[in-house]
Symmetry: D2
Subunit: 344 residues, 4 copies
Amino acid sequence: MINVSVIGATGYVGAELLRLLSAHPGVQINKAVSKSFAGKKLHDIYANFLPERELELQESGGKFGADDFVFLCLPHGQSLVAAPPLLKKGHKVIDLSGDFRYDNTDIYEKWYGISHSAKKENREAVYGLPEFFGAEVKKANFTSNPGCYTTTSILALAPLLKEGLICEKGIVIDAKSGVTGAGRKEKLAFSYCETAGNFKAYSVPLHRHTSEIEEQLSKLSRKDVCLLFTPHLLPVKRGILATVYADLMEGVTPETVTAAYEKYYADAPFTHVLPHGKLPELKYVVGSNNCMIGFEVSPRTGKIIVVSCTDNLIKGAAGQAVQNFNLMNGFDETLGLPRTAWYL
Amino acid sequence: MINVSVIGATGYVGAELLRLLSAHPGVQINKAVSKSFAGKKLHDIYANFLPERELELQESGGKFGADDFVFLCLPHGQSLVAAPPLLKKGHKVIDLSGDFRYDNTDIYEKWYGISHSAKKENREAVYGLPEFFGAEVKKANFTSNPGCYTTTSILALAPLLKEGLICEKGIVIDAKSGVTGAGRKEKLAFSYCETAGNFKAYSVPLHRHTSEIEEQLSKLSRKDVCLLFTPHLLPVKRGILATVYADLMEGVTPETVTAAYEKYYADAPFTHVLPHGKLPELKYVVGSNNCMIGFEVSPRTGKIIVVSCTDNLIKGAAGQAVQNFNLMNGFDETLGLPRTAWYL
Amino acid sequence: MINVSVIGATGYVGAELLRLLSAHPGVQINKAVSKSFAGKKLHDIYANFLPERELELQESGGKFGADDFVFLCLPHGQSLVAAPPLLKKGHKVIDLSGDFRYDNTDIYEKWYGISHSAKKENREAVYGLPEFFGAEVKKANFTSNPGCYTTTSILALAPLLKEGLICEKGIVIDAKSGVTGAGRKEKLAFSYCETAGNFKAYSVPLHRHTSEIEEQLSKLSRKDVCLLFTPHLLPVKRGILATVYADLMEGVTPETVTAAYEKYYADAPFTHVLPHGKLPELKYVVGSNNCMIGFEVSPRTGKIIVVSCTDNLIKGAAGQAVQNFNLMNGFDETLGLPRTAWYL
Amino acid sequence: MINVSVIGATGYVGAELLRLLSAHPGVQINKAVSKSFAGKKLHDIYANFLPERELELQESGGKFGADDFVFLCLPHGQSLVAAPPLLKKGHKVIDLSGDFRYDNTDIYEKWYGISHSAKKENREAVYGLPEFFGAEVKKANFTSNPGCYTTTSILALAPLLKEGLICEKGIVIDAKSGVTGAGRKEKLAFSYCETAGNFKAYSVPLHRHTSEIEEQLSKLSRKDVCLLFTPHLLPVKRGILATVYADLMEGVTPETVTAAYEKYYADAPFTHVLPHGKLPELKYVVGSNNCMIGFEVSPRTGKIIVVSCTDNLIKGAAGQAVQNFNLMNGFDETLGLPRTAWYL
């Protein structure tokens, strides 16, 4: 039984993490920290929590147990401040913000507009995408959880780039995300009346996740990947679907593509590739920690179309964090994680 | 051609009113006043307005034309201040707030918690429910537009109470409204993620519209009506459906009920009663200025179930205001108003 | 480890049951029977099932293990035929249809229009509402799972009627359900375009669940309960919210009401009563096996308003079946069941 | 006053057309033909029609007036049969199917899998995209109304291709449509429970509209356009948003792009180009006959991103048909058409 504490417990990612942890057989929730709601019970903010009704929200983590495993669900910039002292005290930490996701902190500083004040800790951080860095995560004390769009996009593209099946230039990722991706915000743009029945692109053409996708794909493929990433806001609560377009190298067949995916994901418990021509839908993954990938080829245009789906709050955030937690603690990678999507 | 000005132009009711007025053949929009967005173009706030792109939002109405017809789409309390000087200058005014809806200002003060500072003007105000007060509206200079729940509920109940077909005690109105009923608000409770897929009751058991419904029904039926009104928040943008329960007087048949409705609504261009046993749905009215009413009887329990539907932004607010405007200006009652709901 | 088979595996209730069972630590899924899709893999119909990809859908249950626990997720009428031979062979059975829910089969025959051909088995069937019949369920070989509206309504009303706090006459249940309640149907009325943004009442005034609610409440309270039940179709996938209106007996205070609920539900792991004045919302229960109840009183009208919420597919169907399964097999009542709603 | 008849009156496009025509000041609706519902009133199928309650649905159009203007809202293939006799009798006709949209009937036959049996009439048909063929439409007796995806895509791309601002190779159109685009169908895939909260790509990589877009763009630009078009199903009722990716020619600036759009659309009453960097959303156009276009450039990748939005039932079908009707009858192009989107 591992004692865990969650800092930033009342954002949507924090609450989802608590929901998953509350059903995890190897976890004892110790502290839940929420600046905004300190002093209240978790149940006052999220009335869905019933057996955990009495969990009190605390202002700071001063009273962590010495051996607490700590999850940071803080806004970008705040983890830079919160992580170093925790690591110093010997806590194992998973950070869900963007603060420690970059090997090259210059890229972070440029795209986030924040000076990186914890470069030493940044060097210790392992990029927590278990499909490619699972071995490192197992040995890590500090894991940086990837972004939601990033996870969905990298899992679609990395095998194709690593195997040289697509051109590294000209890639377009047209991604669509549910509204929880924006977090728990009192903003008119995310109000029901402005969002329901609507659809829009946003942060065009320079959404931050572009840089995270490019850095990881370049590292994994040893190529210089520069791509166009366009996110859209779907009128659904959960889920990301990315439609990825790339130029196929000559002679590449669907069989080659399937084989490339199988090479990397055959043993991945949560990343599933559909047979050629069958494409995943949001409802195949929402509610689970799965990433589901399908593809089609267009001989007329020489392009491959890859569709990749995740639940942005689970495989895109809290679930992947639990997956990394399992690896860091010697648990089975799937322990306590939902393997079957809700569908309904 | 009547010059009109709208004060409170950027709330949802104000914007809907501008949308209707922009298609009204007898109207020239003169000024649109919005404290929050003064200096911007209407198109900056509501990008759906295209031919009216250049309409500028103004801070105050100082530059009204002398003969402007003025619509007040202000929050409760603010019309108490805004209406008197306009009436004094001779403007015809329709107020869409709750401020002038009560014959008895004590009731207003009790349920709204606001001291009524314009009792003289309140006496001049005609209650703008054309189905019952159309003749008065035609002669009025100042009309108070009824509430959305109120319109939907009164149109369902007034004929039955006036004709003595139901008991005035024990009436229950279980009403469900779309989210635009809450207005244009940066509130977490009305955010997409908190509202989509959800449903809840609110303001139980003392929603303000209870008092407006009771005062009007008591006046119309000359009985002392005291009822229970329970609003709920539907995950849709527009529309109110009220399910009304009342005890039928002995011997009342469906034919009597239909006849009572026909007596009052045979000539009403926007209030339509379905044959006994057929009940309206939101999509039959949303997008139009119609109120649609159906009923069923339950001999086992002695009750009648009446279902009444409106679009809360149209017949429940902006559309009814235009209907009153038409009456006050000698236009055909239906001029410029949508008579066919969108359905899709 | 109990071997279980599910007959009627590809309706929404069957699929939800398989989803819950696939995460249940005491269950081995043996057979999934689906007439419509025999020969296909479960994954072909519900692509969300991943680790269970290979589960084959079978035409009949001929190859059940001798000790299989069988769930029947069949349409009304078909369980009358399917249950008797299974019981005869010694299988423990839970039926999720309406076929065995009535003590008095005359009521069933009248409201369902089906002749009851299994009256002997009907006498053996225990009504599977654990909050009131848990002791009987523990000893049962054959359990009839209550209806979704019924569960939600009875849990709201039974304590108040049993304790004599409300009048048994004049009760109104205004219930609203998500669309999964209608099952997996190729019907225009349940298509996206006809349902999204819409809301309507249906089966007024004689929905079948009226009779089930009345029989159970009459039995539990030893009174002759005759009430009005009005279901509505909500544009959400899951969840039932029932707003219940009843006349409070004189002198009944909120404290008395709370005490009555506590008397019956203090130890119920899934039925939770909120403090007086706090009302539950759909998102507090959807995704979990919980029923959440809140109430408010209206001194002006002498009525109590009770709001009761469940997830119609879980506590209203598949989850309650698993709860009964747990009781029938000596497991902890909560084993494998979701206790925390999704909220998002 | 023009007498009009609508054949195929009870599909979603037919019903939307009747809704628009019922508010058109120059139109008298004569006959509404519906095979499926002949003998019923329009109100029985679409209860939103109120003043037109009594319009009877007829089995065939045998009783058309000699001078009736006829709209064909039939499935693909059926217009091939229906149009020729109507044209022969001298009716002016607008066909909303795909049957007469191609200059080259070989393309039609290949992509629709239907033998083209009305090639003579096909030669007479004018492609009804008023922004580019308005002059021809004015003189036409027979107009073929463009597809919804097609309209949205061509309006985004034609000016850029005609002016040589983008490369004609490598264009990707990632389009997202509301569910009404699938028509009024009793299909599980379009049921509420399967569609709400979901999102998916479909008809990848060979949706029929690809060929229509390519033929028109090739004709307009005198280049050989071969592109990739990927449609997705949005969980909304109405609206298409197309995100278009193309390689910008060297030296092309945002100003050049804006100027190209202005060159073709400055006088178009329904096609509106936003200033560089501002992108349209569905709610800016849904409910209106507008097409709204915005763009952004990505110097990093050399691409332009164009976002184009329409209401698929209005500018993408019934509204554009009325626009063509206006041109064919000498009315103002905008007569009777909604110019301001609903927004809410």
